[in-house]
Assembly symmetry: C2
């Protein structure tokens, strides 16, 4: 052994240094922060264009968050505007917006000095300073409108106390300190003014397509209405395309929000009505009003959808969404969800959506396809489940029949469940192997359903499978939740936006009803229970009478993963492929 | 906001520094290593007492590993003696001794220079330098007997490529480089001389009790036999206590290994025979010989057990294991497992176990209790499972009936399964909540069954529950593996050593046979299969005829976790508590 050297690679994601080294580096970091702070306090303002995304955090708009995302650096830079700073604030992230087990950046003042730190809250909501400081303060600046705080956070840290920033919904939480506090631990998180805001933090990094010269705009907006003084309102307003409006392509749309109402307009959708009716009433009022004409229920074809925090939506350069022309209704329905928890009175609003469209049709019509589960009670979730999984299949046989040989390109996706939905994911599978995630939201909320551009366009070919999995929480329910259209029934849907348009509108599945019948039989015999299986009793009724012990729950899961499925591979919502 | 400071705790388990900082620290580490190496090469030899544990790695004894464990530092220091160094060696750890997905320290030479590094092998066995160097070289020293390498490793690193050193069995692997290699990546791991050795790396840190002055020793050793020239031999030798040998307490025992045979003697046990027979034949030969008298099967009460790498076994100061006296057989059976893969011929051996005993009886007799599953075919594992779990319960009702109010103290444990066993764990549960792990082995091997001292004595009170869970792998089997005594049947047992001795010898469970009958019925009806359930067909036969689809597998798991259990709470192997 003539000489010895130690050898290794230079990349290192998570080194385990000794405590002493860490402590000294930590104090260096503090020193660096202080230097940066001084620079920032004297330096120039951050540019608005540095932070392309913006959302108000609270209903009054006292806190306004702007941010940008760097995929090469795998981090997010936040700029938080605090309009009326008192004794500090909490900002952070948690699984579903709760203040327990949350990952928080805290700015607090004891009346003399102010402090900033990365903290976490335990299962009881008690705050603790984090052993690893991952919210890195980069600067602070006083301006006429308030205090700007600038800080960064890596998507993923090596700290088990930290939130992992992923694609999909992120539940941001905030709290306002209205009294001085002498330490982080002294903050009583349950006694402060606080709230939550859902955003898609990791926006896709998309190049904006070239827009044609002949592009026109059309605003579908509420006609200066008064926002009702109640927490939740769904407002319906009927608009109409001009007579003999020929076929156009929508190539982009963006929100139009009345100034001052940014924190109240939660989400908006423009639907096209069914072509089978010649006319629709000109309604303008709450969607749940007794006065709302029934016929408005036939306006369900989504043309545009926007939710808080979302930006303009661009179609890919090759495609546009057709509207106008023969076989297409002239009637549009605008639906606005106003979220008014502070019950402001007399606020007037003319928000809506601005459509950008062109008469120079693009190469392809865009289409929307529905993936997931058929709306049927045979797919059910037992009560008291914290994470029950149901899966819907768009099978290889269906894509073989219905897709063109050159395939289709999915460029956007809107996930949809009812109130028990907690996660939704669609994966593309080829030859039985998972190839790619089409869209995933591990913190999905039924209250935040955006159409999201995909980071990458997904090509789907004949023979591919699209598997959509939904996770539900029914801990607050006492009886089974069956599939269906009702708000207390469930859905598992991914509306994928793709081109070129095909005849395939719906590619979904459900368990074979014969096997479900065997399940009810088994429950009956195994548990010595009387579950009525007379033909006149509905599947829902049978589910409601199952005694939900662990065995019956487990066997239902096993059934769903084992039993054959019945596939709906439909040209329209009625006509099936042969 | 008068001034700002950054605040945080000083403890930091796993910081995420920027690449630049890491790289510079890494090169510092190399420099430190080189300095240490020079010091070590010139300095004094490590003391043998610094490394209390020692095991040969290979059957020839060319590699000898010594180590110590520091619980305050949470690390292990290794001293590896390489008697005949050629061009380097690999040493490391993996889940079950495989060379794929292994964590390795590699010393290699290109003929001119030698290198040391922390590496890992991927699923194909290809070596890669680890991005984080966690095997830290502390020194190297040439001595007449060979080269000593000294290095340390933390139990847990922050590197997902690293093996986590836990309690229980660790599969050590080694490989010898017989040719120069030009890089780590060039090592073809499948072409080198290599092997595995199982050890309990994290020995408990036990204070040795005071030993009495009147302590005597007795050696139960093989009578200078010739080790058979075959890979595996279980040797049986009958020994006898003196006539009228009164009751004594065994308070300690240790191995006696014939010099030169350290790598061949794999494990040894001393059993006491059943008192119901007045005499036993004086057999001395292989345990599987046709000549072995049947009566030796009645010698099954364990007095002492040792396996490679284990040290002396000490009873706690309050207790000793009774032997001798009325009601106790004079006959002992020594069983030695010789592992002779290189098929050495003519090796003579007189290894065995030295018992240390005293006539001054200690306060308590020690007892052995059997926890886990009853030996019955109703507990079965489907074929083709990679990790199937079976659980046996020593219930609150049984401990309530059988244990003294002051409780018992478990101080040692021997885990036992047959060939499909992969993990075994026993936990203590009180009022339905897990209190404490009694003994756990996440890398359990049926080929390495030691009696292990517990790190902490576990107190068990009336009303406590002891839950033993075994994990099995049946990927190489084509039919169900049922519970039973046969080598291809399975067991799930934890022999716990405790004091004071009680009448409770066995506290185990199995699924209620009536529910298993319902399971066979269900399989029959659900799958339209004909599984014969005639009374004359055994449970094993019924298991063998189950079609093992995912549904039948899942439902069997659900059954085992849901169905009522039948509990055996026995005074001896036959008499149940009322």
């Amino acid at each position: 052994l003539s000489s010895m050297q130690s050898s290794g690679s230079k990349s290192c994601r998570c080194p385990s240094f000794k405590l002493r080294e860490v402590a000294s580096m930590y104090f260096t970091m503090i020193a660096v922060f202080l230097v940066i702070l001084v620079v920032a306090l004297q330096g120039s303002a951050p540019h608005g264009s540095d932070f392309p995304y913006k959302v108000p955090l609270d209903p009054q708009g006292l806190l306004e968050l702007s941010w940008n995302v760097s995929y090469p650096e795998q981090d997010v830079h936040f700029q938080l505007l605090i309009r009326d700073l008192q004794f500090g604030l909490l900002f952070g992230m948690s699984d579903r917006g709760e203040f327990e087990n949350a990952d928080l950046a805290v700015l607090w003042s004891d009346g003399h000095n102010s402090y900033f730190g990365d903290a976490w809250s335990d299962a009881k909501g008690q705050l603790h300073m984090d052993s690893q400081q991952d919210y890195q303060l980069l600067g602070a600046r006083r301006a006429p409108e308030g205090l700007y705080l600038l800080f960064r956070r890596a998507f993923s840290t090596c700290d088990p106390k930290d939130y992992l920033i992923e694609d999909g919904t992120v539940h941001l939480i905030y709290g306002i300190l209205e009294k001085p506090v002498h330490s982080l631990q002294a903050i009583n998180i349950s006694a402060i003014h606080r709230g939550l805001q859902r955003v898609q933090l990791l926006k896709p990094n998309i190049t904006i397509p070239n827009l044609p010269r002949d592009m026109k705009t059309m605003e579908i907006t509420a006609p200066d209405i008064v926002i009702p003084s109640q927490e939740t309102t769904y407002w319906c307003y009927m608009a109409e395309l001009p007579d003999n409006f020929p076929k156009h392509h929508i190539i982009m749309y963006e929100p139009v929000i009345t100034a001052g109402n940014e924190a109240l307009v939660h989400h908006m959708e423009v639907f096209q009505c069914a072509a089978e009716f010649d006319s629709f009433p000109h309604y303008n009022g709450p969607c749940d009003s007794k006065m709302k004409p029934d016929r408005l229920n036939y306006c369900r074809h989504v043309l545009a959808a926007w939710a808080m925090g979302a930006q303009a939506f661009y179609y890919p350069e090759e495609a546009g969404l057709a509207f106008g022309g023969p076989g297409s209704s002239r009637y549009l329905r605008l639906e606005i969800h106003y979220h008014n928890p502070l019950v402001f009175e007399g606020r007037r609003d003319s928000s809506g959506i601005r459509l950008y469209y062109t008469a120079t049709l693009r190469q392809y019509d865009a289409g929307i396809m529905e993936l997931g589960l058929v709306y049927t009670p045979v797919m059910a979730i037992p009560p008291g489940e914290d994470a029950f999984i149901l899966t819907g299949y768009c099978t290889d046989k269906c894509t073989q029949l219905a897709l063109p040989a050159a395939g289709i390109h999915i460029f956007a996706s809107q996930l949809h469940t009812h109130l028990a939905g907690r996660k939704v994911v669609t994966v593309l599978s080829r030859d039985g192997r998972e190839q790619q995630v089409v869209n995933a939201d591990g913190h999905y909320s039924p209250h935040f359903q955006e159409i999201r551009m995909l980071k990458e366009v997904v090509a789907v070919f004949p023979g591919d499978e699209l598997i959509t999995t939904c996770t539900y929480n029914t801990e607050d329910r006492s009886r089974a939740t069956v599939g269906g259209f009702g708000i207390l029934e469930e859905m598992c849907v991914n509306y994928v936006h793709y081109y070129p348009q095909t005849q395939l509108e719906l590619c979904k599945s459900a368990v074979d009803p014969g096997y479900l019948h065997r399940y009810f039989n088994l429950v009956n015999r195994f548990n010595d229970e009387e579950v009525c299986m007379c033909p006149q009793v509905s599947v829902s009724q049978q589910f409601f009478s199952v005694p939900w012990n662990t065995f019956n729950r487990d066997v239902l899961k096993s059934l769903y993963s084992f039993a054959p499925i019945s596939v709906h591979c439909n040209k329209s919502s009625a006509v099936r492929f042969p």
